[in-house]
Symmetry: none
Subunit: 410 residues, 2 copies
């Protein structure tokens, strides 16, 4: 391989997603958005995204075109073991790089199969082929390692696998750190998370800030029964970004009041977990018609082990009552039934707080008990489908719990 | 406009999505998938999808490239009223078509504003510009009508708005009927769903069929702890497609044996729900460390109401034991602990079948009890993260249950 000097002036990126399944519409291309967001955060320019199928001639043509327009090419897909998977072979040819068998990569793939007590299919060998002078990108999530290669003209290519579960950590951990050096002054952003307030209502409350914003800019988003406003600054350092962002974030928080539940927090349940821990409380769940969604949301919280007790999930409140050993008939009023069930969940599971949700058709009810104090709520939802109802029910109950915990802090 | 004859031989399509917001990753490109699915159903060939921003030079370049590769161009985005919206202007220039003010279209936009009791902003006038010789595509969902135009070389372009709520009905009602005449006979496909077998192993078992396949073609996929093989036929009628597909599907099923759990079924849990109902069984759940995922998967099954009892979810098997009123210490062996818990779930919840899962670090264990008979399983998983562990645990338990129910059928 000839020694190449990589130009460090303003770089242009392109994304090439490879896979006939994308052209057939079998899968949604979430990779393109993930990479676009990543490049945007890094302050790198992206002008074109292309999707091509598993076809040599067309992929080769797409790569040659991209090389005329861009310096950095990001590929997803086509690194699998089957004969359909041709991205590495074709990209190496376009970049005039020979492929060789990387013994370390091969051993890792063999180890992966050994761990799961299966023999490695011969077809997986080709996943260990690497371009000469290239760099292997680790894939702890699967058998296909990625790779980086350079062309003699100074192009950079990053080849990543198609499954998002494998592609995302590879981009975050292996690709982004390399790309960071080409950043044109970074973008820094903070997200204010908002609950129980629609996106358009939130945007109205912030309209003058949104209209006036150039640096920072304010972008409102709606997301799974929540809203969010992203405040983004372009700056040459973290300190400069902070000076630009902080006054605007404070203004946003003041206007949104108790609707804003956090800045750059992972989610509502993590905020609640922290409050539960601070107040020394434990929480159990009794959920009807939601598939146990409220309890499930806590799973990814670090503190869940210490603040969450068991969760019971059933189709109806009657089943919940039975399972909690409640023999009397439940109140007909759904909010009152939930109130009783949240109290009994505390008793049955030995926790200091209990949360009950109910979805029945378009009816939503929920109740939360904290140290004997119970609040309840019921509403009829617009016709939107089961996922929406479940999200709304868990959201309503969790926000009720958050406000109760805040009131106890006061 | 010169009279043009549109060739009716095999047409190639391309999708061009226009919008800087796509390049920033602010929105997910669901339009591309929707159009890809639509073209696939119509039996039209799609080889390339491109995304470009709201930039004249780059859009013009992308259109010229697409015109060299394809006959039919489908555009989304850039039909709005702002100066950023340039798709129609640039496409008309590439197609050598003059734009004129369409009075009917203008009136419709004015009417739309009158209906919502607002004055029409002057900027919206440009949405009523139409290419000479083109065809207006109606948009009952918004102010931007779409349009169709032809080039002198016989290209066809369809310009549709970006918001999916507006684009989808326009494609279905206005564009698809025109495209149907270029269909190369429809595509018909069936999906064989596979569990407990990796994609590459499955592909090996079917390799000769995959290699030989032209009509039908076989495409293997991996998907959330499962695999799938899609068998696709090109045919001029449903009957012809059936005659092409059936023998191959049968061969695939025979080779994959019990790993294949269904053809064109929604998912594993719906197959299990049916078997439970046929055998008059009800199922309860006790899950540790999975957030109740196994139980939750049944939520979307139509039969869930009649076959599913309550589900208990907790962080540890100890918590589960307590909540089920099991006072003795659990066996140290995790599979045996799961076996005991699946039996107690049946007793506690009064069901005839019980399923227990455990995820603890990278350790997976599960057990299923059906009418007193219990099977159990434990394994160590490769390091892949919490979502993977949960999926694998629910998958292992559900497949164990499926096989037990199949054995009872035999």
């Amino acid at each position: 391989m000839r020694e190449t000097t990589i130009k460090v002036d303003r770089k242009r990126c392109e994304i090439l997603c490879v896979g006939t399944e994308l052209l057939l519409g079998d899968i949604l291309n979430t990779n393109a958005q993930y990479l676009a967001q990543g490049l945007s955060k890094l302050g790198l320019d992206l002008y074109v995204q292309t999707v091509v199928g598993d076809n040599e001639a067309r992929l080769e043509n797409a790569i040659h075109l991209a090389m005329t327009r861009a310096d950095i090419l990001l590929f997803t897909g086509g690194l699998g073991p089957t004969t359909d998977d041709i991205t590495k072979e074709v990209a190496a040819r376009c970049f005039h790089r020979e492929l060789y068998m990387d013994e370390d990569a091969l051993r890792e793939i063999q180890d992966f199969y050994a761990l799961t007590r299966r023999a490695m299919p011969v077809s997986n060998q080709k996943q260990a082929l690497m371009p000469r002078g290239g760099l292997l990108l680790k894939n702890p999530q699967g058998t296909a390692p990625g790779c980086m290669m350079t062309s003699d003209e100074g192009h950079l290519a990053f080849l990543m696998p198609g499954p998002p579960r494998e592609m995302r950590p590879m981009f975050d951990n292996e690709v982004a750190p390399i790309l960071a050096r080409y950043s044109n002054g970074g973008l820094y952003s903070k997200a204010v998370r908002v609950v129980s307030l629609g996106e358009s209502r939130m945007a109205e409350m912030l309209q003058d800030l949104i209209d006036a914003g150039t640096n920072p800019t304010l972008a409102p988003y709606a997301k799974d029964g929540e809203a969010m406003v992203r405040v983004t600054a372009r700056a040459s350092s973290k300190e400069e970004a902070k000076a630009i962002l902080d006054p605007v974030i404070n203004e946003v928080l003041q206007r949104l009041g108790r609707h804003a539940y956090g800045v750059d927090v992972p989610n509502l349940e993590s905020v609640i977990s922290e409050k539960l821990q601070q107040q020394g409380l434990t929480l159990s769940f009794a959920e009807a018609g939601t598939g146990g969604l409220a309890a499930q949301r806590f799973l990814s919280c670090e503190l869940a082990q210490s603040v969450c007790g068991p969760g019971l999930s059933a189709m109806t409140t009657g089943q919940l009552a039975c399972a909690l050993g409640l023999m009397d008939a439940l109140p007909e009023n759904t909010a009152e039934a939930c109130a009783l069930l949240s109290q009994h969940a505390c008793k049955h599971f030995g926790t200091t707080a209990g949360l009950c949700t109910l979805v029945s058709g378009q009816e939503l009810a929920c109740a939360v008990t904290v140290l004997g104090e119970t609040r309840q709520y019921a509403a009829r939802m617009p016709a939107r489908g089961a996922d929406y109802y479940r999200t709304q029910a868990s959201q309503a109950a969790l926000d009720m719990l958050r406000l109760m915990l805040m009131d106890r802090e006061a």
